[in-house]
Symmetry: C2
Subunit: 234 residues, 2 copies
């Protein structure tokens, strides 16, 4: 069984197509996790991507993870690229998220049989997101392998790719990026200014490709810097 973490964004949607391409004919299942993220609407994008590939898609709700701008109501979503170079982690780092997703997936799949757990992390996230680094992927692979009854492994084929590399591969292989959702505000048209929209715009620009989604106002491709805006405390 191939199980992939599918958020509905650019990286995991491309991963879905990558796994479909490299594991043709094998069973593939996609999982989307709800963990209190403000942009939980991403689960709909994930479902569209999974449907495009004919994958079974499951949405799993976990206890909310706190301590991130992506989940805490009173913490502002980051505007412009913010990789946490001064603070250690990015504001959008979600504590131990990848480990928790992998562990939950391991618990589900270890009940059934051998599986590869696929994770779409990449090189641009090595700064600011400890759980996206190659050393974490290797450690998680060991923990999953040693802590389960079946042969379960973690693989992250993009871990040394840039996001632009991912987009380049995805454009060449027909990934329907118009169906993906990256915006931390969960907006369509995308806000264009949040950290995630900015990373997406930069990756498409670096890949020499056109991003097929719509952006609000004149934000497309415009780098943003300066103060973060406050999202409403809800």
């Amino acid at each position: 069984m191939n199980c992939l973490l599918l958020s509905g964004g650019v990286d995991s949607a491309t991963l879905a197509f990558w796994v479909a391409e490299h594991h043709r004919g094998e069973s593939i299942r996609a999982y989307t996790y709800l963990y209190g993220q403000k942009h939980a609407v991403e689960a709909e994008a994930a479902r569209t991507v999974a449907e495009a590939l004919g994958f079974e898609h499951r949405v799993v709700e976990l206890p909310a993870i706190h301590g991130s701008a992506l989940t805490d109501p009173c913490r502002a979503l980051p505007v412009g690229r913010d990789l946490g170079t001064t603070t250690g982690v990015a504001p959008s780092y979600v504590p131990a998220r990848n480990l928790l997703f992998l562990a939950q997936l391991a618990a589900l799949e270890d009940a059934c049989g051998p599986a590869i757990l696929w994770l779409g992390v990449h090189r641009d996230e090595h700064t600011g997101y400890p759980d996206c680094r190659p050393e974490f992927v290797e450690a998680a692979d060991q923990a999953v392998r040693l802590g389960t009854q079946h042969e379960l492994r973690v693989q992250a084929p993009f871990v040394r790719w840039t996001k632009a590399d991912i987009v380049r591969w995805g454009v060449a292989h027909g990934v329907p990026y118009q169906s993906t959702l990256s915006c931390y505000q969960g907006r369509r048209p995308a806000c264009g200014v949040c950290d995630s929209c900015q990373a997406r715009l930069q990756a498409f620009a670096a890949a020499g490709a056109e991003d097929p989604i719509s952006y609000a106002g004149d934000a497309r491709g415009r780098p943003v810097s300066g103060d973060r805006y406050q999202d409403q405390c809800r």
Copy 2:
């Protein structure tokens, strides 16, 4: 912060006292996880043990874990010791449970600051429970350390002790074993015949100590073998 996985059984109750003894004056918090176990009543025993030590106690509910006799309604609870020597894992092995608990604890604690995550696994569980072996503890420690922003570590001080060693230490240090609950059926008096009751009885016998809890009928100390009984499918 010291965070310990407290199920309310002998091992984790002793661990609670061990941590209290060795980390006197430090903050200590106990967590009990609900994961669909039939003996969820163990959370009450955990609360009593935590209260005895003045620890803050949190109960966290996770999506149910399937694929274990401890959770699946139609799978019988194991009677007598069954360490899965022929099947690879014990019937009471719960898929990736320890990894999932540690990952969830890491997500909670990494939002706050450095922490040690304490786990009460021991040597008698090395057969039948892959996630109780020293190599798993080491791998989980690495995954938690590398996948988080703060200094989070996993420690399992009993990992090379037998359950009898644990009981011996606990009796000498006043662990209130009368408050603990081991029975997979969640019964008080304990059934005395399930795998967990049998392991407990054997450990007290080997430690030369008297188990202060009550057992149903004449089951105390009587080894059980043969067919497993069926618990009702509910």
